[in-house]
């Protein structure tokens, strides 16, 4: 397993195969599946305000987990805790543990930059760097992480663009460019914070198709306020409300037979 403290850019297939295979906790799923993240009793404060309240949740490998819930329920904060991006907000405090492949993300010896190399992220608003060409945008993560080998960069550029289904496209779809950029550093996990909320239906369909294809190689966690989308793309769904995890389980169960009243009310559109 790759060590968080000393992760190297080039990881091997063997390392991927060695992923942790602890059984998922009974509260979240019935069968044993390999896990990428194990979140235990996570609480987050912004100053005095508690944004996440004691959330325990396992995230399965090579599957899509959707986080749903009304605005301000903490779903984005939760996502940002998975690659320590929330630390950019001043006066943030985190309690509880987050394990990535069994390693504690919040251990004092862990460099957040290395966490973020392994756990990539795509944002709600596409944000390609305006001073760079498409190609430069895609490989910037590798270049700024010290990769100088031009041949390697070119190969990775092509591979990332192909995976993001951009290679054959002339017109620049900015959000898929951002996905290609995130994939270029070869993360294990891809976090997506409402990746389609600023897109038209056609572009949304393309991204959703892409998510389907990417889950063969990546663990994906996506935040969405669009329940139909969560239903279409995800294998597991977590429903957050007021900072708490109300219900978590296979998407089909959450959408057809939720066990909590609040989940049912939200899914059926009684509040939102």
């Amino acid at each position: 397993m790759v060590n968080l403290v000393m992760a190297t850019p080039e990881r091997t297939v063997i390392e991927r195969a060695e992923r942790a295979t602890e059984p998922i906790s009974t509260s979240t799923s019935e069968s044993a599946v390999p896990l990428t993240f194990q979140v235990k009793n996570l609480s987050v404060w912004y100053g005095e305000k508690r944004a996440i309240d004691d959330v325990t949740l396992d995230i399965a490998s090579n599957a899509v987990t959707a986080i749903i819930g009304p605005s301000g329920c903490g779903k984005s904060t939760f996502l940002r805790c998975l690659n320590r991006m929330h630390e950019l907000v001043p006066k943030t405090r985190v309690e509880g543990t987050v394990l990535l492949q069994g390693e504690d993300l919040y251990s004092s010896t862990v460099d957040p930059a290395i966490v973020r190399r392994r756990v990539g992220m795509v944002f709600q608003k596409s944000n390609p760097f305006p001073t760079m060409s498409i190609g430069e945008n895609v490989i910037i993560g590798l270049r700024l992480n010290g990769v100088r080998n031009q041949k390697f960069l070119n190969e990775r550029l092509e591979k990332s663009l192909r995976m993001a289904a951009l290679w054959d496209e002339v017109k620049d779809d900015q959000q898929r460019l951002c996905i290609a950029r995130a994939l270029a550093v070869e993360p294990e996990v891809l976090l997506m914070d409402e990746p389609c909320s600023a897109l038209d239906p056609i572009a949304t369909a393309k991204i959703e198709e892409l998510i389907h294809e990417l889950k063969a190689e990546y663990t994906i966690v996506t935040v969405t306020h669009n329940m139909q989308q969560a239903g279409r793309v995800s294998d597991y769904t977590a429903f957050f409300y007021l900072g708490r995890l109300i219900e978590f389980g296979p998407t089909t169960k959450i959408f057809t037979n939720p066990s909590q009243r609040q989940t049912e009310d939200y899914i059926t559109g009684r509040f939102g």
Partner: protein
């Protein structure tokens, strides 16, 4: 109320007309001095701006002719020295204010920079005179460059900070989310995005100190000959204009006008470059 009979209709119209007239006159008052200055400079100086002016040294008193080549070169050397001091400190200071530091310390630093921007430029000359000229027992190009560089620092700090704060946070987050370190994110993404704005600030600061005379009076001191050693006094265009303008000789007066015309034209050109830079902004950023 009837549309035709708003009772104070005429009075309102009069007020509106009065206000726009006042604004127009104020605008004229702003533009007029610029026009007058240019007109006078061209009228009095254009005839003396010739090949000799750019290639010859000043002539001894009483000998008509000569030029200001040493002062033009001296000004450029002083600006280079000032840039070597002012740009790195100013840009890094601006980066610090925008990206690091606590809110309290930063608002204090910002206040100090604003106060320094208001300090009369001759004060900087006195400070450098006390710190450098007295200690090393002599006027020098270094002292002049230092005085100008110190004036540039707070100017560049503030403009750099402003344009860096304009860079949307999404770019920082995108780079950090790729596992890029904080410093590399700032240099390769944030500063690169803001580069036009930063360069604009630097050019404006150079244009500002390029025309300064007072801080050079007792630092660079001036020189009627070529300066071959930066630890010796050096000529500068504004200083030469000052010396010639207060002299009793007609030929020197003409040369002072010519010098002023050249100086103003140079600063004007820098401002045009700044305009061009700020016009072609990419992707509505900075």
């Amino acid at each position: 109320m009837h549309l035709q009979r708003a009772d104070n209709h005429t009075w309102r119209k009069a007020k509106s007309g009065l206000a726009s007239t006042a604004a127009f006159v104020s605008a004229l008052l702003v533009i007029a001095p610029l026009g007058l200055v240019f007109f006078h400079l061209v009228a009095n100086g254009a005839s003396s701006v010739n090949w000799d002016f750019f290639t010859k040294l000043p002539t001894p008193v009483g000998v008509v002719g000569g030029g200001m080549v040493n002062a033009i070169a001296g000004s450029l050397e002083l600006l280079a020295l000032a840039a070597a001091i002012g740009i790195p400190v100013g840009v890094l200071g601006g980066v610090y204010l925008a990206e690091y530091g606590s809110a309290r310390v930063n608002s204090m630093l910002r206040f100090i920079a604003d106060v320094l921007n208001g300090v009369p430029s001759i004060t900087w000359g006195v400070v450098v005179y006390g710190l450098v000229v007295l200690r090393f027992k002599g006027f020098s190009a270094y002292a002049g460059g230092l005085a100008l560089g110190l004036i540039m620092i707070p100017l560049i700090i503030r403009t750099t900070e402003e344009v860096i704060l304009l860079v949307p946070n999404g770019y920082r987050e995108a780079a950090l989310a790729l596992g890029v370190s904080r410093w590399k994110t700032i240099v390769h993404v944030v500063m690169k995005t803001a580069s036009k704005g930063i360069i604009t600030g630097i050019l404006l600061a150079l244009a500002r100190v390029g025309g300064e005379t007072a801080p050079l009076l007792f630092t660079a001191f001036g020189n009627r000959f070529w300066n071959h050693n930066l630890s010796e006094p050096i000529a500068a265009l504004p200083l030469q204009i000052f010396t010639y303008a207060i002299s009793p000789y007609d030929d020197w007066h003409r040369q002072a006008w010519a010098g002023a015309l050249v100086l103003v034209t140079g600063i004007f050109c820098v401002n045009v470059v700044v305009r061009i830079l700020t016009r072609g902004r990419t992707a509505s950023v900075v």
